[in-house]
């Protein structure tokens, strides 16, 4: 059954008087009831947004903070290090300032050795982070086997930090290094894929080979 054309036009009329709303004024397009309902809802929405958005921004803020600190820490003189064996040194992570003991971490440092190192990173010293690339436990260098070994879930790395076995998904992170006079300085952390290509610092457990690097995007500000 086709709808009555006259009735339809009445329903579609923008004027409340034409729509037969009781108590309608001439020229009125919205009933007072719906105006006030909409107004009250809008005011409530504005009030809620006014506190929810700043709170959300506050909570998510750390995601967008600038992480490139470019803080270099002195770890010793050039005479303290050699190209063959790692020397463990303790640094404070720039992001972990003010956390006391918890912010300190061990870095294994040695001189760049062209006979072992195949990477083209160009840093004069190799500073390897002890953060396991499985889930972030602290690895330890075992001189006897020339391996980094993680106590938590059995991750094993070769002397250059590449994965020898276990669950880790990429080589151990490194820190930028430079030499100033006879002092060795350790700077920002960076991550590596299995070909020793440099990436911005990522969390453990995030593979960077092939397509994986797109599934684990970098931090927005690095």
């Amino acid at each position: 059954m086709a709808p009555d054309p006259k009735k339809r036009s009445q329903k579609r009329s923008p004027y409340t008087a034409d729509r037969g709303t009781p108590g309608a004024y001439e020229g009125e397009t919205i009933t007072r009831r719906s105006l006030f309902t909409g107004g009250a809802l809008a005011a409530g929405g504005v009030a809620t947004t006014a506190f929810a958005l700043p709170a959300l921004g506050f909570a998510l803020g750390p995601l967008f903070e600038d992480r490139s600190r470019a803080i270099f820490q002195d770890v010793g003189s050039t005479a303290d290090f050699n190209p063959d064996a790692y020397v463990p040194q303790v640094i404070t992570l720039p992001d972990s300032q003010g956390t006391g003991e918890a912010g300190k971490t061990t870095v294994y440092v040695r001189e760049f050795n062209p006979e072992i190192d195949t990477d083209k990173l160009g840093y004069p010293y190799v500073a390897i982070s002890t953060r396991c690339m499985h889930l972030g436990c602290p690895v330890r260098y075992v001189q006897a086997s020339k391996r980094f070994i993680c106590p938590c879930h059995g991750g094993v790395y070769a002397a250059d930090g590449s994965v020898s076995g276990g669950p880790p998904v990429r080589p151990l992170d490194r820190f930028e290094t430079e030499v100033e006079g006879d002092r060795v300085l350790v700077g920002d952390r960076f991550s590596l894929d299995s070909q020793f290509q440099k990436f911005s610092p990522r969390d453990p457990g995030e593979p960077l080979d092939g397509l994986w690097q797109y599934l684990y995007p970098p931090r927005p500000t690095v």
Binding site: A59, L60, P62, L63, E65, R67, L93, D95, S96, Q97, G98, T99, G100, A102, G103, L135, G136, C137, P138, C152, P201, R202, D203, P204, G205, E206, L215, Y216, P217, P218, R219
Partner: protein
Amino acid sequence: MAILPRLGRKPEAPPAESPDIPGVLKRGGNGDKPSGFDREALKKGAAEVPISVAGWLEERLGQTPALKHTLFRKVPGHDWTYTLGFAVLIAFMSQAVTGVFLAMYYDPSPTQAYASAAFITNELFLGEFVRGMHRWGSTVMIVLIFLHMAQTFFYGAYKYPREMNWLIGVILVTLTLAMGLTGYLLPFDQRSFWATIVAVNLNGTGPIIGPYLGDFLRGGADFNAITISRFYAIHMLLIPGLMIALVGAHLYLVTKLGTTAPPWVKARKRRELAKEEI
């Protein structure tokens, strides 16, 4: 309406300044009568106090039928497993109360957290006991939740019309596990520190949003000064608030929808029908 019933009053009208307490003998008009207590009247008066208090409240709140409906519901069968939900509630209340008192001494800063937790354990009177209740109570609560969940599942209590209650329960068990995770960091010893590192990095292994989730939980790229206070705020403010609201909804639905009969209880046939079949 009088709050206290006026009983035991002597025929002589007491002086205006003498308070009218039931059971207390008033000094007479001529002043030579000894004051004292009329024990029987006092007893009677005391017995009526709860009734009049209840009446006073009922007159203002009018909730007696709803309360009766909540507290004196009919439960099909006599099954002790129906008490599991209440056991979880008690465990939650125990966690809430012990948590509030632990919060009075705990300092969620990376340099003070371990020391303040050690102070609670070693120095405070009953500190070790209250902290132990909170620590072991969390495990007890999770065990009880899963027993409660298993009971609901095996009794088929998740079916129509109680699906929403099952869903709320699943959110609640997730929140409880999140409580366990965030609370684990707070003693700030080696175990809790590294367990939290691992847990946050586990979140980081999720593709696309994982890296952002890890940063959100830590409040930065590395474990930093605000991580522990962030976990603390989530542990004692955010999740408990959500849980209290959801527990309320959970209980409301239980009373509204009633309790499921155990699967072995069959609906009884009416006598006449049974006879007809014979």
